[in-house]
C-alpha cells in the first residue's frame, strides 16, 4: 500500500491550482453531497476531506470499445464537477484526451503506475479480447490485456466503465469473434465496481468517481457489483409513463395516436421493467430526456447479456427480480458476484505469447 503519500497534493491544492475559487469549491462540495443523496450536514465533511486528504490518482485505459463512455462523461451536467474530476484525471493518464503521443504516452503510464503504486484507481473503458492471444486489440505493440493486467497489478481498485468492461457488450455477442471478456473475468484479485450502461449516464459516472475520490472507499454495491445509489431501482419503477402501464394504455404501433399521447411502450419491447438504472430519474444529456421519453422502449443496456436476448423489440415476458433472463445459473452467478471480486474462478486465460513488436524507447518530455 501507499508509502510516500506525502508527495501527493490534496484535492483542494489541485483545485486551487486549476483556478477554482473557494466559493466554487464549497459549491462543488454541496453538489457532490446532493448528487450522492447525502444530507447537507455532509458538506463540511466533504470539504474537510478534500482539504486534508491527498488526492487519489486515476489511470484511465481503453480496450475493445467505442469510446462512448468518454463521450458521455465529458458532457456531464455539472460543469464544475466534471472540470474538477477531469483535471484530476488529466494529471495522470488517459490515452484519448491527453496531450502526449506515442512512446511519451506509454512512458507517462509507466511513470504514473510507478509513482502511485497501490494508491491509484484504474478506470477501464472497454474490455480485452482474449482470442489469438489478445492480438485483436493492440496498444503500443502489446495486447491490451497485458496493459490491463500490468496497470491493475498495483491499483487500489478498479472501475469498469460501461457495458463493455462490466459485461462484454455487443462485441461479445454471439459468436463473440474476438472472445471479448469483461474485466472481472481477467482481473480477479482486486475490488471492482461495475458502472454498466451503453454508455453509463454522465452524472452517474461523475457521481461514482467523486464518491470514491472524496471518501476514499467504494460506494455500497448491489449484488452484481454496481453502485446501489444509482442501480437499485428499475427504470420502470420511476418511469413517467408508468401510470399508463398500470392503466393498461399501450402504444400499439410507432407514431400511432397512443404514441403521441405518451402511452406505455411495453408492447413495443420496452425493457424498463427488468432494467436497473437511473435513466428515468437522472435522464440524459443534462437531464433533457431519456429513450422512453423519445418514444422508443428501453433496450436494457445496463443489464448483463442485453445484446443476446432475441430481438430488442420483443416484449418482456418474465418480470422477475434477476434481470432479463432468470434461471438458476444466472441467479447463482449473480450471488457469487456479491462476495466481491476475489472469487471469480473462471479466469482460465491462456498464457500470452511474447509481444511481437515490443516498443521500448522510454523517453520523457514532450
Amino acid at each position: 500500500m501507499g508509502k510516500d503519500t506525502t508527495q501527493i497534493e490534496t484535492f483542494y491544492d489541485v483545485m486551487r491550482r486549476q483556478g477554482i475559487t473557494r466559493r466554487s469549491f464549497m459549491k462543488y462540495c454541496s453538489l457532490t453531497a446532493a448528487a450522492l443523496g447525502l444530507s447537507p450536514s455532509f458538506v463540511p465533511k466533504i470539504a474537510h476531506a478534500m482539504e486534508t486528504k491527498p488526492r487519489t490518482p486515476v489511470i484511465w485505459v481503453h480496450g475493445l470499445e467505442c469510446t462512448c463512455c468518454s463521450e458521455s462523461f465529458i458532457r456531464s451536467a455539472h460543469p464544475l464537477a466534471k472540470d474538477v474530476v477531469l483535471s484530476m484525471i488529466s494529471l495522470d493518464y488517459d490515452d484519448t484526451l491527453m496531450a502526449a503521443a506515442g512512446h511519451q504516452a506509454e512512458a507517462a503510464l509507466e511513470e504514473t503506475i510507478e509513482k502511485y503504486k497501490g494508491n491509484y484507481i484504474l478506470a477501464v473503458e472497454g474490455n480485452p479480447p482474449l482470442n489469438e492471444d489478445g492480438m485483436y486489440c493492440i496498444i503500443g505493440g502489446k495486447p491490451f490485456v497485458e496493459q490491463l493486467r500490468h496497470a491493475a497489478e498495483h491499483a487500489k481498485a478498479i472501475i469498469s466503465w460501461g457495458a463493455c468492461a462490466s459485461y462484454g457488450c455487443v462485441q461479445a455477442a454471439k459468436p463473440n469473434p474476438t472472445r471479448a471478456t469483461p474485466v472481472h473475468k481477467v482481473i480477479t484479485d482486486k475490488p471492482i465496481i461495475k458502472v454498466p450502461g451503453c454508455p453509463p449516464i454522465a452524472e452517474v459516472m461523475t457521481g461514482v468517481i467523486t464518491y470514491m475520490l472524496t471518501f476514499d472507499r467504494m460506494p455500497e454495491l448491489d449484488r452484481q457489483g454496481r453502485p446501489a445509489m444509482f442501480y437499485s431501482q428499475r427504470i420502470h419503477d420511476k418511469c413517467y409513463r408508468r401510470p399508463h402501464f398500470d392503466a393498461g394504455q399501450f402504444v400499439e404501433h410507432w407514431d400511432d395516436e397512443n404514441a403521441r399521447k405518451g402511452y406505455c411502450l411495453y408492447k413495443m419491447g420496452c425493457k424498463g421493467p427488468t432494467t436497473y438504472n437511473a435513466c428515468s430519474t437522472v435522464r440524459w444529456n443534462e437531464g433533457v430526456s431519456f429513450p422512453i421519453q423519445s418514444g422508443h422502449g428501453c433496450i436494457g443496456c445496463s443489464e448483463d447479456g442485453f445484446w443476446d436476448q432475441g430481438s430488442f423489440y420483443n416484449r418482456v415476458t418474465d418480470l422477475t427480480q434477476f434481470g432479463v433472463e432468470a434461471n438458476a445459473d444466472k441467479v447463482g452467478m449473480v450471488a457469487a458476484g456479491v462476495v466481491g471480486a476475489g472469487v471469480a474462478a473462471h479466469a482460465a486465460v491462456s498464457a500470452l505469447k511474447a509481444a511481437q513488436r515490443k516498443t521500448q524507447d522510454k523517453k520523457e518530455e514532450a
Binding site: T96, I138, Q171, A173, P175, D255, W284, F290, S294, A366
Partner: protein, 477 residues
Amino acid sequence: MTDATTLLVGPFNRVEGDLEIRLEVADGRVRAAYANSPLFRGFEMILQGKGPMDALTITPRICGICSISQSMAAAHALADLAQVSPAPEGAKVAQLLHMVENVSDHLMHFNLFFMPDFARPIYSDRPWFDRAVTRFTALKGSALKRATEARTQLMHIVGLLGGKWPHTLAIQPGGVTYAPTARDKVRIGADLAAFRSYLEEVVFGAPLEAFVDLTQIEQLSGWSSGDLALFLSISDDLSLDTSGIGAGKYLSFGAYPLPSGPLFQRGILCDGVAGLLDQRDIVEEIPSSWMLGADAHPSQGMTMPDEDMREDAYSWCKAPRLGGVPHETGALARQAIDGHPLAVALAREGSVRARVVGRLLELARSQIEMERLLASINVREPFMRQVKLPKEGAGVGMVEAARGALGHWIKVENGLISSYQIIAPTTWNFSPRDRHGVPGPLEAALVGASVRAGEDTPVSVQHIVRSFDPCMVCTVH
C-alpha cells in the same frame, strides 16, 4: 540517397480508437507509409443470424462518436430492404439529428484533436506559439472549454429528439419514434441560435454567411478573426497548404437525403472533374488485410479474420476501391462534390489546410441548413411510417458520417441477417495497399512528409494523420 530507416508511430492519442503507422524514412522525408488498425471486434460476424431490426441497436455501438451515422445507415439499409421511404417529416427529424452529430464531430476534431498539436514545445520559436498554447493546450486551453460547452448545449437537441446520446435509438426505417411538438421546435431553435453565436464569436469571428460566401483560396489570406484566423496564420507559417497532398480523387455518398434530394450532392471528383457514383463499382480488396476470402463487392463480401496474421498483410482493415481506384472521403470531398467553389479549389490543393478548411466550411454551411430544416418541420404530420420487412431480400444504406462515406449492405434470408457488410469512412481513407500495391489515401498523403532529426513521433505526420480526422473504431468494426 541514404538507406531508409523504419519508424513505428503509435499509439496515437487524441484519435478515436487505436492506430499504428509504419514509416520508411530516408533523407529526412517519409518514403513510404503503412497504416495499421490494430483493433478488431467482428461486428459483421456478430450481425449474422440476428433479426434485421437488431442492426439498429448493434451497429451504432461500433462507434461512440458517430453512432447516429451508423444508426442512419442501418435505417436506410432496412428501408431499402423493405422498399419504402421514411415519412417525410420523420426524415427531416432524422437528418437534423444526424447533422447535429456531424457538426459536433467537426467541432471536436478542430478543438480537441487537431489544434492541440500546435501547442507542442517543438514550435516554441514560432510567432503564433503563445496564442496556440493559450487557446489549444490539450485539456487546458481556453478554446477547449468553450467548445465542449457549446457542443453540450447543441447535443440537447439530440437528447430531446433522440432520448439519449451516444447510441440514440429513435431513428427507424420508417422515420423517428419521437414526434416533436411546436414547443420542442422553439427549444431547438434556441439551442441552434446559441450554437450560431458561439460559431460566429469564437470559431469564425464573423457572420457565417461571410465565410460561406468565399469562392477562392486567395480570399482566405484576408480572414483575420476567430480561431480560423489563428489556424490560417499557422498554416501559412508551416506551409500546411503543401503538406499531406492527396491523390486528388474524392467520393461522397451524398449527405442528408430528404424527399427533395440530398442537401449535399452524391458523386465523385477525379482530378477536378466531377462524375457520378455507382456503388456497384465498389470492391473491397484484401491482399494486405488479415482477412480470408476473396476481393468482393460488399453485397457479396465476407469477414473472416486471418488468425495467423500472415506476414505479407499488415492491417485488419480491408481496402475498398471504387472502379479499382482509392478515393478520399470526408468534409472536403463532400463540399467539393457539392460544388462549393472554395471547396472545389481546396480539393485541387488536397492538403492538410484544405481538409481543415473544408471541414470548417461544412460546419458553417451545416448550421445554416439546420436552421432551415428546423423551420420546415411540420409538427402536425406523421413522423413514422409502418414498415414490414420481407423475409428475403437485400438492401443498401449509404450516408455521410462526419468523416465521410459510410455504407451498410444487408442481406436477409428466412427473416434473419445472412450477411452484413460495412464500409466506414476511415476504411476508405486509411485503407492498406490493394492488389496492385497502390497505397490508400492516407498512406499516399504521408509520402514526402518531413521528419526532423531525432523525431520519433514526427509532428508533420501527426498533422497529416489528424487532417483526415480518423475514426479507427469504425474502420475495422
